[in-house]
């Protein structure tokens, strides 16, 4: 459904991504893992239209989207939860959600979508009239995800949503993500530093390092692979070192 084909992305004169290729199928959950600064967020920003690739292409449902404006890409059905959430701080929870449903077709279905959102994130109904600024970290993340869902996307892009959250809340949120993925058939493309979690949840995974894809495959398989274990899981080779 979403096909990224050999894209090069630059920040000004600085190249950040080299020949990245990736695919997300209908209803799939795909993870992109890698260390800090590897280019994960850059990739998501490019898919969502905030950045444009200098080379290569991105297509969705067979149509090229890499040169389109960000708001058009949302219209096409791709919605992103940006890094750092980027809520509208002075607007209420409800207003943030309403803005998520800005698109005409989303606006029409707004009431229905809102009921669903409040079902899966009940705390948001409680905090409906509060300013987004006043919510706790976990609640803000839920709001950010909910807001992205209001536009009725077919693919949801998640950029580092576990940052700064306690494990309990993270579990909570990913329960909802799984549900949204399996029950509502919304494909998920998530970018994470928390490698274990990402690989445990997803169907397919890609590994990125220094702006290049260095590994891909079935998530469970990657989880077991030696390279991933060495590189990311901190399992030190047996040589007398203790934790």
């Amino acid at each position: 459904m979403l096909k990224i084909d050999e894209i090069d992305v630059y920040y000004g004169d600085l190249q950040a991504l080299w020949g990245v290729s990736l695919a997300v199928k209908d209803g799939e959950m795909v993870a992109l893992v890698g260390s800090n600064g590897a280019g994960k967020s850059t990739l998501l920003k490019t898919v969502s239209g905030l950045l444009r690739p200098r080379r290569g292409s991105i297509s969705y449902q067979g149509i090229r989207i890499d040169q389109q404006d960000a708001h058009k890409i949302v219209e096409a059905g791709i919605s992103m939860v940006p890094e750092g959430r980027r809520l509208f701080p002075d607007m209420s929870v409800l207003e943030n959600l309403e803005l998520g449903a800005y698109l005409p077709q989303a606006r029409q279905a707004q009431q229905k979508t809102l009921r669903w959102i409040y079902d899966i994130f009940p705390i948001l109904r409680e905090r409906e009239t509060q300013a987004a600024r006043t919510l706790s970290g976990g609640e803000q993340q839920m709001l950010a995800i909910a807001r992205a869902l209001m536009s009725q996307p077919r693919i949801l892009l998640l950029d580092e949503i576990t940052l700064g959250l306690s494990p309990l809340i993270v579990d909570n949120i990913f329960e909802v993500i799984k549900q949204v993925n399996k029950l509502n058939h919304i494909a998920i493309f998530l970018v994470e530093q928390n490698v274990v979690l990402a690989l445990e949840l997803s169907d397919t995974a890609y590994i990125i390092e220094n702006g290049r894809i260095i590994g891909q495959g079935e998530a469970k398989a990657l989880l077991e692979s030696q390279e991933v274990k060495d590189a990311y899981l901190g399992i030190a080779p047996a040589s007398g070192e203790t934790d």
Partner: protein, 291 residues
């Protein structure tokens, strides 16, 4: 009850200052554009009101809807021809660039006006100009009452627009985080376009009132001054406090005229302004930015 009379004139002026500053604050709060040609644009509107009156006998207050359309169109043209190019600059440069560009526009408008209509001063005089309502011995000019009424209507209308309508919320969202707004499906370029045009058209009532005072090609600067002063007094981006700040300024001016006489009218506000800049640059009025 002299001072009360002065206070009334002060409030009337203050209401007018507020209406003038509203567009300026809007443009700056939403897009980070400091449009120092705002005063000149208002005067262009005032010329419109003048000619509507001279040629077709349209009363200035009644001409406001027409002026709104004219100013809206001018705003759109201006944005597409000039300001839209500023989007490619980062936010910091936007301020300086928009400042300089609007300088340039000031020169263009002023000299255009001289070429078209000569440097002569003009004003609209209606049958109710100079007439007052006499209440408890106080003189309340009809035009002044109209000014205050207009100011209240404009401020309330803008507030409702920004808080109750979808597009208004989109505008506020864009002001708070324009990248995140794009991710909502909001067309930021179009939002900026409409916001800018809005910031011009919202000065239509002020233009009508000013047309009944004095119009001349160069007088726009004085109104822009008041606008800038109020933007700082109210706190940058704080649209809700513009009218109170205006009334405050008007009162200060009135009191200073009462105490030291008319020639120093402009000074009082400026002195307060400089003091605020030095000691309380975030503005006199509380409340986070209303956008």
């Amino acid at each position: 009850m002299d001072i009360l009379q002065f206070a009334i004139y002060g409030l009337i002026n203050g209401a007018l200052y507020g209406m003038v500053a509203l567009g300026l604050s809007l443009a700056y709060g939403i897009m980070g554009y400091l449009n120092v040609a705002q005063g000149h644009l208002i005067i262009l509107g005032a010329y419109g009101s003048y000619w509507l009156f001279r040629i077709w006998g349209v009363d200035p207050f009644l001409s406001i809807p027409i002026l709104m359309i004219i100013l809206f169109i001018i705003g759109i043209i201006l944005y597409m021809a000039v300001y839209s190019w500023l989007l490619k600059f980062q936010v910091i440069s936007r301020l300086k660039s928009s400042l300089l560009i609007s300088f340039g526009l000031m020169l263009v408008f002023e000299n255009m006006a001289i070429l078209l209509w000569t440097a002569d001063e003009r004003a609209v005089t209606t049958f109710y100009s100079g007439k007052v309502a006499d209440i408890f011995g106080l003189r309340l000019p009809y035009i002044g009452l109209g000014t205050i009424g207009l100011a209240i209507i404009v401020v309330v209308a803008l507030h409702l627009f920004l808080t109750k309508t979808y597009f208004g919320k989109a505008i506020r969202a864009t002001a708070q985080d324009w990248e995140a707004s794009q991710l909502m499906g909001i067309n930021v370029a179009r939002t900026y376009l409409v916001s800018f045009a809005l910031s011009i058209l919202i000065a239509a009532p002020a233009a009508a009132v000013i047309s009944m005072r004095v119009i001349s090609p160069g007088i726009g600067v004085e109104w822009t001054n008041y606008g800038l002063v109020l933007v700082i007094l109210a706190g940058v981006g704080n649209i809700n406090s513009i009218l109170p700040a205006g009334l405050f300024l008007g009162l200060i001016e009135a009191i200073s005229v009462y105490l030291v006489g008319a020639p120093y009218t402009g000074m009082a506000g400026l002195v307060v302004f400089v003091l605020v800049l030095l000691f309380k640059p975030q503005g006199l009025f509380k409340g986070r930015a209303a956008l």
